[in-house]
């Protein structure tokens, strides 16, 4: 597997006030592949994910040193517009969080923000995005019904459709299936595999099997440090670090 590096992280440190939540993270995320972040609770997976689209900007106590490059541009340099960045780097959250508006308006929200006004164009984007998230067939007859009436799994796929509607290059997912039942989880996992042909996906998961099933690269975090990084196959069959092995085999965490 020799892909171009989409995201390069160099010496990333993150502090919440005095406490350091990320220590010297350095890794690369390949383009058009799924990278899974695993590690015990509180090790900084979500924190790291939120660095990549600068959602940590909203936390007053949060301070960051080091670099994150996306397509060779430092996203924390003063020239970077975080709003433009977030258009390029979409995010799907742990709990499905559709806006309390119609299915259509949820998907059209992003494109409208970024200046798409033409009805025909919007229809097209909505259809394409919902097809892209494998939800189209289920909702095509009720696009103008409230999104909150959908099932949890459908809502999460709607959130994915909403994220891809702005044509991002990277999609960040923070435990996207932890609030879903096994059936819905399977559908979302399938979708994640599908997405990886056109997007760079970074996914946080607590579920080892899920990481093994969906990802190409796996990164193991422990207490704010990156312990191991490599092709998923290798991490799960022959981890180099003892702590990775312990975690994967369920001996702690």
């Amino acid at each position: 597997m020799d892909r171009k590096d989409k995201i390069i992280v160099e010496n990333l440190n993150l502090f919440y006030g005095e406490t350091q939540a990320l220590k010297n993270i350095a890794l690369t995320v390949p383009e058009k592949a799924v990278t899974a972040l695993i590690g015990p609770s509180g090790c900084g997976k979500s924190t790291f994910l939120r660095c990549i689209n600068r959602m940590n900007d909203f936390i007053a106590s949060c301070r960051i040193t080091g670099k994150i490059l996306i397509d060779e541009n430092d996203i924390y340099s003063p020239e970077t517009d975080p709003i433009e960045l977030r258009r390029k780097v979409g995010m799907v959250f742990q709990r499905p969080n559709p806006f309390p508006m119609s299915i259509y308006d949820n998907v059209a929200y992003g494109p409208r923000l970024h200046g798409v006004k033409d009805k025909g164009k919007l229809d097209e984007i909505v259809e394409k995005s919902l097809k892209g998230s494998a939800l189209w067939d289920e909702v095509k007859d009720k696009l103008h019904k409230p999104a909150t009436a959908l099932s949890g799994g459908q809502q999460q796929r709607l959130c994915i459709a909403r994220a891809i509607a702005v044509e991002p290059e990277v999609i960040l997912m923070d435990e996207p299936t932890s609030a879903l039942d096994p059936m819905a989880t399977a559908r979302v996992e399938e979708l994640v595999r599908m997405l990886s042909s056109s997007y760079t996906v970074v996914i946080v998961t607590h579920n080892m099997q899920q990481a093994a099933r969906v990802s190409d690269i796996t990164v193991f975090f422990l207490m704010g440090e990156m312990i191991e990084y490599g092709p998923t196959q290798q991490i799960f069959t022959s981890p180099k670090d003892r702590r990775t092995e312990d975690y994967i085999t369920g001996r702690f965490g």
């Binding site: 909203f58 977030r86 806006f99 923000l113 970024h114």
Partner: protein, 293 residues
Amino acid sequence: MGNTLRGDKAPQRIIQTISIIGVAIMLFILFFLVKESIPILKEVSIFQLLFGMEWYPTYDPPDYGMFPLIVGSLSVTLAASILAVPLSIMLAVFISEICPRKLKELLKPVIEILGFFPSVVLGFIGMVVLAPWMIQHLEAYSGLNLLNAAFLMGIMIIPTVTSLAEDSLASIPKDLRDASYALGATRLETITKVVLPAALPGILQAVLLGVMRAIGETMVVLMAAGGAAIIPLSLTDPVRPLTSTIASEMGETPVGSIHYHALFFAGLLLLLLTLGLNLLAMFIERRARRLRA
């Protein structure tokens, strides 16, 4: 076990009996206002009361047309709402979405305390500060007029509307804001397109309750509205709302006179208006809660 439970019944009965007082007061208020209003309906037709243009209760023969008083109440309330509601909603948005945490801890009690300002104090400010200012700068005739009262009434309802609207904004989950930011929205876009629409029922309720307070507000209009029972044609015309009519005339009319009953009818109108707004606000709240569930 049967024994202890029986011993437990007595306190429950007593407490339930005490709590009947609240219901009783509300029913008594309704009952006594209706009872004391009925005699006027035997003297004057309800149409004449509601739509009569002349309020001369002490003339001979007297006139009991309350239309100017009703218009007085509604016009001051409307003007106050136009001044205060947008400001209150902006303030609520500021507190919930923008304000740094430290400032918020200070600002919320300050707004709450503003809500405790005695209305007689504000009415006094209207007389000694706003009135002279208006005479000087707006060439108003007396300075005690619709606009003066509307300013003060606006100040009265800012705390009510702000704190209820802020509660509603604060109840919107952070998830929704995150989702919007993650799509590249600015804070303004997130507020106007996601947060405000989601909080709308609560904000509407806040506005209704603010209007309810304004309609019932007495001292401010008694002291600052000028007290002329006319239909106002400009903001600097004096008005005589229902509340100030009751407060200023009840003391000077003999108990049981027609005028006395007419004033009770005015009170009944106020009660029904505010009760209606209150019920509407409760209805909106119930519906919003059911939709969320």
